[in-house]
């Protein structure tokens, strides 16, 4: 063991925090190193002197609590952030519960389908015949006119077929 290592262990020794093995090795070093032995003696003296500085059973000046109350009344006005922080802790879980209920309501409650009668479906789908006919005759190109007539005919057949179903 060298003196540098020993110095660190001596500090632990004066605090009673040295393991047995390290303590034995340190004792062997102290037996042959007067400098480290002196260091141990100085640290022990210092520890005693420091402990002597302690003001035991120290009590504050009289009426400490009463003086503090007076200061709390005048100096300790809670800041807006302290109020916010106080309510935030309670508000967050309440908000989460409300949010979960709303989500549940939105997802679990299915809107009922509106059942239409067959006649209502036909009326809903069918456009004004006059508007359709005008669009066909307004078409300039004959081939486009014929295609529109064909599709109009097919659509009419489809509407009738759905009405029958």
């Amino acid at each position: 063991m060298n003196c540098h290592k020993a110095e660190k262990l001596i500090s632990k020794l004066v605090d009673g925090r040295l393991e047995t093995g390290a303590s034995t090795r340190l004792a062997a070093h102290l037996a042959v190193c007067p400098s480290c032995a002196q260091l141990l003696s100085d640290y022990q003296k210092m520890k005693g002197m420091m402990a002597d500085l302690k003001i035991k059973d120290a009590e504050p000046l009289p009426y400490f609590e009463q003086r503090l109350r007076a200061r709390l009344r005048t100096e300790a006005r809670p800041s807006i952030w302290a109020v916010v922080e106080r309510w935030y802790a309670a508000a967050v879980p309440v908000f989460l519960v409300i949010a979960m209920i709303l989500v549940g309501v939105l997802f679990l409650v299915q809107p009922t389908e509106v059942q239409m009668s067959q006649s209502e479906m036909l009326l809903f789908q069918t456009q004004s015949p006059l508007t359709e006919t005008r669009a066909i005759f307004d078409e300039e190109k004959p081939e486009n006119r014929q295609l529109k007539l064909l599709f109009a005919g097919l659509e009419a057949q489809e509407i009738v077929r759905r009405g029958k179903q």
């Binding site: 500090s11 210092m46 002197m49 402990a51 500085l53 003001i55 504050p60 106080r86």
Partner: protein, 188 residues
């Protein structure tokens, strides 16, 4: 006393509950302050300010540690701020500058002389402590004056056990150099 219940009531604004906490901890907080700053009036002011800070910070206390540990952390931080603001450039005293006690002839005089000599050493030791960097002064005060364990020091200063160890070692080495005349050797 269920301390957690009292703390919760104080958090809800119950001033009587906060008074209970003050009465429970005022001696410890004052004792911590006075053993670091070595002045009763200053320590009393510091203790008042520490409890004021604790009152304002109470809504943020989440019971992740004991209330006493949390209060001690506030106290240490406040005292540390005070030491930084009031670090004076004091002339370094030597043992020779402190008046020696008179030499008495009878036993009573000798006892008085011993007590006065003892006081001289204490004055010099306080002086040397005050010259030290505040992190070393704090850790030495907590360990060797207040008698806190390494674990308690680690919690209060938020240091790992290894850091407490190494910081104490460096603090003692530095103090030993400063106290060389008192210890009666080179101190190197």
């Amino acid at each position: 006393m269920d301390e957690n219940r009292v703390v919760k009531q104080a958090q809800q604004g119950d001033k009587e509950s906060f008074s209970i906490l003050v009465k429970t901890y005022q001696s410890k907080v004052f004792g911590l302050a006075v053993n670091i700053v070595h002045d009763r009036e200053t320590a009393d002011d510091l203790a008042q300010e520490i409890f004021l800070k604790a009152y304002l910070s109470l809504p943020g206390f989440r019971f992740q540690s004991e209330f006493g540990t949390w209060l001690y952390q506030i106290a240490i931080n406040h005292i540390r701020d005070y030491l930084r603001k009031h670090k004076k450039e004091k002339e370094s005293l030597s043992l020779d500058e402190i008046p020696e006690p008179g030499t008495g002839e009878n036993e009573m005089d000798l006892r008085i002389a011993e007590t006065q000599e003892h006081e001289r050493y204490k004055i010099l030791l306080r002086q040397k402590l005050e010259e030290m960097p505040e992190k070393y002064r704090l850790i030495l005060s907590l360990r060797d004056i207040q008698g806190l364990s390494y674990e308690e020091i680690g919690k209060v200063l938020k240091l790992s056990p290894g850091t407490v160890d190494s910081r104490l070692h460096r603090a003692r080495r530095l103090l030993r150099k400063k106290l060389a005349p008192l210890l009666g050797q080179g101190g190197g």
